[in-house]
């Protein structure tokens, strides 16, 4: 795996990563809920409806996962340092 050599504003990059993690936890919880609904045997709900509703939650969670990835990419792009700052950052890292 190649290392990302681009220079980022560490503050913005860190915030982008943290926000993505929180959103991923929410998406993960939605997948868990969907799975629980779809596989729950201790219920009066019909198995077909359980699977449809559980499946819907999982699909929405996956859609949200795609959004999280897009949003993270956008935030990371926004955290890229401009050329002049990049030169300064490289100089600082050489020192």
């Amino acid at each position: 795996m190649s290392m990302d050599k681009r220079n980022y504003d560490t503050e913005k990059r860190s915030r982008a990563d943290k926000a993505a993690v929180i959103r991923a936890v929410v998406a993960g919880y939605l997948v868990y809920l969907g799975f629980t609904i779809a596989t729950n045997k201790n219920t009066d709900m019909s198995p077909a409806l359980s699977r449809v509703l559980g499946g819907a939650f999982i699909v929405i969670a996956l859609g949200f996962g795609f959004y999280i990835w897009k949003r993270w990419r956008s935030d990371v792009e926004g955290a890229l340092l401009p050329e002049e700052d990049k030169a300064e950052a490289e100089k600082a890292s050489e020192e």
């Binding site: 860190s14 915030r15 943290k18 926000a19 929180i22 809920l33 009066d44 929405i60």
Partner: protein
């Protein structure tokens, strides 16, 4: 303030009122029974307490603590074992709170000083403390029936001479005192501001807000008076909520959490030790998780290996529903209380209706989806990730 601004400012409060009315109708008024109103507070005590700690973590930049449910289990397990072995309850409580602080110091050290990402550190804590909790319990359910312990956390306040009859008047007297204080405080604060020549909001809206809150306090305490009086757990919740509200809104130390979440680099450059802020956030979170473990053990009367499962999601959910930002730097204690009560009303309402548990999951998921949609739509408006 125009209607649009009002709705934007009080979205969650309006949502709470709508959900409350909806479940009051759906339950045929049973939600409003004194016993259910009292239970609303007791069943959500752990969320209200832990949400305060989670807010401090989230404020530091959208960090969360995934280990809180496991800490609840472990501290509850330690308390149950010690009580079962005949240790005095006060000693057990003190020891459990010290152990909670030690857990917080452990996590705060790795996150604040070694800079391990909070997600990784608390995820490992989630497995570690759950495992330790189960080991302490020996995979059994241990009953908590120490009378003093239950009195400290799960009893009701009964003042001799006042609460002898069917009605527990002390609860309503407290309600009257709180309502009077709120009104007096509004008058005093406005008079002080007027004296100093500060710009103030409309007197009508400010007094209307105070009167509505006072009426709600009176109604709630009247309901409590008609049941068993004020639960001791309410005092614990009140102490935690007021302490955290004071720290976050009135102290410089509280402001540090917002500053770190707003811009960590600038905060560091202004001379604030950000490591200490992270350390404090995770230490206080673990302390509150430990306290929740004790409250839960007393409320349920037993502890098992599954105690505290998914509690972290309740605390995190309350914070986000209550308006804390995923990027940190914004959120208030009053906001997260609204979020926690909203979740509590939904849970309680569904239980009273006797809704099938699969439908309960669907409703919980739908609430979360609304938060997700809000997140996506609000970011679209700011032109990000569109």
């Amino acid at each position: 303030m125009n209607t649009k601004a009002f709705i934007k400012k009080y979205t969650m409060v309006i949502a709470l009122v709508v959900v409350f009315i909806l479940f009051s109708v759906l339950t045929g008024g049973r939600l409003l029974l004194p016993q259910n109103m009292s239970n609303l507070l007791l069943q959500n005590a752990y969320v209200l307490v832990m949400a305060c700690g989670m807010l401090m973590c989230i404020l530091t930049g959208g960090n969360i603590d995934l280990s809180v449910g496991s800490v609840v289990c472990m501290v509850g397990a330690i308390a149950a074992q010690m009580l079962a072995n005949g240790m005095p309850s006060v000693v057990v409580i003190i020891l459990c709170l010290i152990i909670s602080i030690v857990i917080g110091v452990w996590q705060g050290f790795w996150i604040g000083h070694i800079h391990i990402p909070p997600f990784i550190c608390t995820l490992s804590g989630m497995f570690l403390f759950r495992g330790l909790g189960r080991a302490i319990l020996g995979s059994k359910t241990i009953a908590v029936n120490n009378k003093t312990f239950l009195n400290i956390f799960a009893s009701y306040i009964n003042v001799p001479g006042i609460d002898g009859g069917e009605k527990k008047w002390s609860a309503f007297i407290v309600g009257i005192a709180v309502a009077a204080f709120l009104i007096f405080n509004t008058i005093r604060s406005r008079a002080a501001k007027a004296k100093k020549g500060y710009k103030q909001g409309s007197a009508i809206s400010e007094f209307a807000k105070t009167i509505i809150i006072s009426v709600l306090v009176l109604l709630y305490t009247w309901k409590l008076a008609n049941y068993k009086g004020i639960p001791v757990m309410a005092i614990w919740i009140l102490v935690v909520v007021l302490t955290y509200a004071f720290i976050t809104s009135k102290t410089a130390f509280g402001r540090y959490f917002y500053a770190v979440g707003g811009n960590e680099k600038a905060t560091k450059l202004s001379g604030i030790d950000t490591n200490k802020v992270y350390f404090a956030a995770y230490t206080s979170m673990a302390l509150l998780a430990g306290l929740s473990g004790l409250l839960w053990a007393a409320r349920i009367g037993s502890v098992n290996g599954d105690t505290g499962n998914a509690f972290e999601m309740d605390a995190i959910g309350s914070c986000f529903i209550g308006g804390a930002s995923a990027y940190g730097g914004s959120g208030t204690v009053s906001g997260i209380m609204v979020g926690a009560i909203l979740l509590g009303v939904i849970n309680q309402g569904m239980s009273i209706i006797g809704l099938d548990n699969n439908w309960q999951y669907v409703v919980k998921g739908a609430v979360l989806l609304i938060a997700v949609i809000f997140d996506v739509v609000s970011n679209k408006k700011t032109g990000k990730a569109g």
